[in-house]
């Protein structure tokens, strides 16, 4: 294992820790808004994991997955927030 | 067109114009170039067709893109704005890191209001986005020319002008050069 691979492996562990912390906030989150915020953060972390995996897998095809995922998760979060805004009465 | 003086303070003109259509065209073209990432001739021909089609379809809703001040120095102004923005982004991240890693959690949140001089929807969107990513501030609402902002380290008795000078002025100076 070269030094670069070692650093990438370390980065993967840090990404995993970030995902687990976000998941913990999702599970603990006292109310739905906290869960929504945790989801928003987790989707962006997942986008960067997908970009990272595209670099591992050596193919630019997987970048499209990251792009579509980032854009559509944003649309989903916005729609859920709009439902909260109009539907709380 | 959108050069007319606004009726009320903070009124936003959302009707599509030639100018907003031009902004849309340029943006779609840039996105196409970035997504294909090549300058081969068949990609360019397909890009021209797709760009024109998307612009024609989306033109009736393009009113929110109005308000760009077109000039030859536009790319330079955008670069200057991006530089200011990047500096603020780094500063805000080290600020977040300091607050999160301090065991006593030094935060004192509060909600303040800020007035903006930008009159176009695009300019206000860019300003709100920038404020969200700068140290300790989060745009909650934009209503006419008042922005409601959640500030993570709010001084006790702050009024609108002081808050505006502290939060929005830097970005407004950079933004007003290329957007109304």
């Amino acid at each position: 294992m070269t030094l670069a691979q070692g650093i990438q492996f370390l980065a993967l562990f840090v990404f995993a820790a970030a995902t687990l912390l976000g998941l913990l906030r999702f599970l603990l989150g006292p109310a739905t808004p906290d869960r929504l915020v945790a989801t928003d953060t987790l989707t962006v972390v997942a986008t960067s994991i997908l970009v990272f995996m595209a670099a591992f897998l050596d193919s630019a095809l997987y970048l499209d997955v990251a792009l579509v995922y980032g854009v559509l998760a944003f649309v989903g979060v916005i729609a859920l927030a709009r439902i909260i805004e109009t539907g709380h009465k | 067109m959108s050069n007319a003086t606004p009726k009320a303070a903070g009124h936003i003109d959302r009707h599509p114009s030639t100018e907003s259509g031009l902004t849309l065209l340029v943006m779609v073209a840039i996105v196409w170039l970035l997504l294909t990432g090549s300058l081969a001739i068949q990609e360019l021909v397909a890009g021209v067709l797709v760009t024109l089609a998307v612009t024609l379809i989306a033109y009736p809703r393009s009113g929110i893109l109005g308000g760009v001040r077109w000039s030859f120095a536009l790319p330079w102004y955008i670069l200057v704005y991006l530089w200011v923005f990047t500096l603020a982004l780094f500063k805000s991240n080290f600020d977040v890191a300091r607050r999160v890693l301090t065991p006593s959690l030094p935060i004192r949140p509060g909600i303040v209001q800020v007035r903006t001089n930008l009159t176009s929807a695009l300019g206000r969107m860019l300003l709100a986005n920038s404020i969200t990513l700068t140290p300790g501030t989060l745009t909650i609402d934009v209503e006419n020319d008042l922005l409601t902002i959640h500030w993570i380290d709010c001084p006790p008795d702050i009024d609108l002008d002081t808050a505006t000078a502290a939060i929005a002025t830097d970005f407004e100076v950079a933004l007003r050069r290329f957007v109304r």
Binding site: F9, P33, L36, L57, L61, Y62, L72, A73, A79, H88 | -
Partner: protein
């Protein structure tokens, strides 16, 4: 342990936790949000299995549309409410509901 094993382990934890959250959450809006997280992890699985087209579809349908559809259906049926007064953990505001 290779990098793929680590990501598979992480995503298995994510899928299990969010799927159980979908089952056990009382609030239906929270359950809809948990469903989108399940599809996030499944889409990363498809990328590990080298099927970018399937991953693309899963990301588009699962993250964008299914959560939205579920939340809209729950709202239309009047089955959820947002616990506004619990969102601030330490300090409760006035209850607007």
């Amino acid at each position: 342990m290779s990098w793929a094993d680590l990501i598979v382990l992480l995503m298995v934890v994510l899928v299990l936790a969010t799927a159980f959250a979908t089952l056990f959450l009382r609030n239906l809006l929270g359950a809809a949000v948990a469903t989108t997280l399940v599809s996030l992890a499944v889409s990363v699985f498809y990328v590990i299995l080298r099927a970018p087209d399937v991953a693309l579809t899963e990301a588009a349908v699962g993250a964008g549309l299914s959560g939205l559809l579920l939340a809209l259906a729950a709202k239309r049926l009047g089955l959820w409410h947002i616990e506004v007064q619990e969102a601030g953990l330490d300090e409760r505001g006035d209850d607007p509901c």
